[in-house]
Symmetry: C2
Subunit: 465 residues, 2 copies
Amino acid sequence: MNYNIITPPVIEAITTIVGADAVIVQHDDLEKYSHDETEDLVYYPEVVAKPQTPEEVAALLKLCSKHRIPVTPRGAGTGLSGGALPVKGGLLIAMERFDKVLEIDEQNLQATVEPGVITEEFMNQVAAKGLFYPVDPASKGSCFIGGNVSHGSGGPRVVKYGTIREYVLNLQVVLASGEIIWTGANTLKYASGYNLTQLMIGSEGTLGIVTKIVVKLIPLPTVDALMLASFPSNEIACAAVSAIFRAGIVPSALEFMERRGVEWVMEYDDIAFDLKDGVEAFLLIEVDGNNQDVIFADCEKINAVLENYNCSDVLFADSSAQKEELWRLRRTMAVSIKSNSVYKEEDTVVPRAALPQLIKGIKEVGSKYGFESVCYGHAGDGNLHVNIVKAKMSDSDWTNKLKFGIREIFELTVSLGGTLSGEHGIGLVQKEFMPIKYSDVHFALWKGIKKVFDPNGILNPGKIF
Amino acid sequence: MNYNIITPPVIEAITTIVGADAVIVQHDDLEKYSHDETEDLVYYPEVVAKPQTPEEVAALLKLCSKHRIPVTPRGAGTGLSGGALPVKGGLLIAMERFDKVLEIDEQNLQATVEPGVITEEFMNQVAAKGLFYPVDPASKGSCFIGGNVSHGSGGPRVVKYGTIREYVLNLQVVLASGEIIWTGANTLKYASGYNLTQLMIGSEGTLGIVTKIVVKLIPLPTVDALMLASFPSNEIACAAVSAIFRAGIVPSALEFMERRGVEWVMEYDDIAFDLKDGVEAFLLIEVDGNNQDVIFADCEKINAVLENYNCSDVLFADSSAQKEELWRLRRTMAVSIKSNSVYKEEDTVVPRAALPQLIKGIKEVGSKYGFESVCYGHAGDGNLHVNIVKAKMSDSDWTNKLKFGIREIFELTVSLGGTLSGEHGIGLVQKEFMPIKYSDVHFALWKGIKKVFDPNGILNPGKIF
C-alpha cells in the first residue's frame, strides 16, 4: 500500500471536524502517542485527533480514505503487542474522549459504554448496582474497554466467566468508508447473518473503529475465597491446575506465578511477603459464589487436590486487605519486571494439561540462548505470559539471536496444541511469528476479509499480518 | 451465479471419491434429502454424496468448484429455516457418516467430535464421565452437533451456560477450494488473527463445511430443581422473567409456554397434566448446581419473586420422572403443533425486559391478519418462538397476506431492540425479512466475506442473503 502524508489542508480539514483543541501536531505533544506498553518501541504519528462522537470518527475516516492516510486507533496505550503504534505515521485517533458509561440497564442486565472508559471504573459502576462485569485484565486500572474489545481481552476471571467475547452483545462501529453500523442486536444471542460482532472482537482496529459497546452483565457474586498455594517446582504447580478442574471445581481465578516473579515484585513494591526456601512456584486460587458454605466446601476440595501435588503451604486470605495484597502481588508482576530490566513479554496459550511441558520447554530454550524468563499467567486457561529478561545476554545476542529463541518458544507452544497470544493480540511485535501457527490459507482469508472492510488499507496498517 | 447441472461424468467422479454405496441418484432415494423440518418445503438435489473423511469432502468441493455445481451441506435435516434445502439442485453432501466422538479429553475438559454426531448422544457420552456439554436444543435427540455449529444453536440452558459459540474452541473446515484448515487452536482462548472459528459458527454452511469440532466441557452439575409456575396472562409471565434475574438468580433454564401450546401437546401426546381454568401462561424454571441447600435457597428466592407477579401455582417436580415429564411438555411443543396443523415457525429475540411488549404485539398482529399464534421459548434469553397456525385463515390469505403479518412481527421485534432469529438461523425462509434489521452496508460486508471464502458461490447458494 502507498500512503500519503498529511498536508496542511488535510490538517485544516481534521481541525474542522474535531475542533482545534482536539488536534495535536507539535512534536513534543505527540510524544505521549508515540509509544504504548510494548518494550521501548517508538513511532510518532503525524497528527493526533481526539474525536468525541461517532460522526466525527466517520468524518475523519472518510477524509483519510479519500487521501489514503494511515489511521491508527488508540485506546489507553496499555497494549503489549504494539497494536496502538502508528508505524506508518499518519493520523492517530485517540479515543480518550469517548469516556462515558451511557447506560446501565438493570432491567435487562446490560450496559452501553463508550470505548474510552477505563475498565475498572466501569466494573465499579456496575458493581455499585449489584452487577458484575468480570473481564478484568491486569491493566484494568488504566486500560480502556475499547482496547479490551480490540484484543479480545481476558484476565484472571476468564477461567470461570469467559473472555470479553462472551460479554459483548453489540458494537457500534465506524467503517473505513465512514459508514456507521451496529454489528448486531442488544440481545443475548442471535443467529442472523455472519456474526460481525465476533469478527470485530480481536481485530485490533484493522476492520473499523468501535464507538459504542453493549455488554451483558451478570449478578455480582456475594462471597469469595482466595488462597495462595506454594509448590516445590513449576511443573508440579502447573500439573495441579488441571487436577483442580478434574475434581469438579471451576475456580473464579487460577493464576500461576514463578518464584522469580514474586521476587521481582518484592524488589519493586513494598509488599511484605514471607518467601520460603524451597518454594519455586505458586498458584493463586479464587472461588466465588453466593453461599459461604459452598465456598468453604470448594476450598476443602481444592486443598485435597493440592495435597496430592506436593503443595507445601496454603495461605488463606482472611480479610479483604489480605486478598487485595495477594492480587497486587500478581497484578504488579509485569510492571515490576518492566521497571528495572530490559525485557520482552510473550503470550502463549496451550490446552491446560500441557502447561508443565510448556514451562519446562521455555526454561530449556532460555538455557540454550542465555536469557532469563519469568513466567506467570492465567494457568486455568492454559495461558502463560513469558517475560524474557535480558540479564547477562549480550546486546548483540539480544538484538540478533533472541528472536530465534522466541520462535522456539512459539514452536513449542504450537506443537503442544496451543497458539501464540492468549489475550495480548498480535499487533506489531508478534506478527513475524504468525506463520508458525497459521498457513497461507489463513493469511489469504484474513487479508480477504480485511479488504472487504477496508479496501484502501488505511486502518491500523502493518498489524497482525 | 450460473450453475451447471451434474453430468454423468461428474457423477462418476463423485462415485470415485466416496464409493458407489455412498452416492444416491435415484429420485425415490433422494426424497429423504429433499426436505428438512421447515414447513412443507421440498427441493430435490440432483445427487447425494455421503463422504466419510475430510479428504473426501475436500475432493467433492474441488470437483464442484471446477464444474460450478451448487453444494448443499446437510446435517440431520432438523432445521427450521430451510438451511439444508438444496434450492439450486446440485450436490447434497450428507454428513451422516461423520458420526464419531473422536476423543473426550478428561485432562483438558475438551472433546473432539465429528459433525454428524447426534447432540444428545454426545451429551450422554460426556455425562458418563462426569462432564457437561450444555447446548441442548429441543431437537437434541435427533439433530447433529454440526448443524448446531452452523446455526449457532442455543436451547434452554443458554440462559446460564451460553450458546454453542461459547463451547466451540476450534473447527476443522473444508473450504470451497478444497483446502482443509483448522480455524484456531484447542485452547480456551486466543487472540491471534481474525477469529475464523466464530465466523464459521452460524454461517449455515455458506463459508465451508465443518468436518471436526473441538468443544469445551465443564464439570457436570450434581443437583437441580425444576418448577412450573402458572400465570393469569402472557404479559405477566414474561414480566416475571426479568424480575428473576434482578433478584440475583441465574436459572439454568427459564422457558415460557402459552396455555395454547400446552393444550396442543396434551392433544398430541399422552402427558397427563391438570390444566386449570384461568391459567394462561407458564414459566418452566430450572436451577442447577452442586449443593442442595443452595438450590433450595434459589427456589425460595424465585418463589418470592413469582408471588409479586400473580403466580397462581408453582409445581415442584419431585422426581426425575416428573422432571422428564415437564421437559417433555416443553420439548414436544413444536412437533405437536406441526403434527396436525398448517403452520409456520418464526424465531424472535429481544432484550428480555421487552418480552411482554413483544408477545402483546404478536397477538395484535394475529388479530389483524386472522391467524392464531402459539408462543413459547427461551424467555430467559428474550428468545420467543412464534408458531403461526393457519386456523381459519383462508388458503388465499395464508399464501398472499400472511407474509405481511410476519413482517409486522419482525418489525416489532426490531423496534424493541431485537432481531429475527435467536437460534434457528436465516436459511431460506427468513432471508426476505433480513432488510428489516440490516442495511445495505451489512449485506455488502456479508457478501464480501462470502466471496473471500467461496469465490464461485457454490456453497449453500440461496441462503441467508
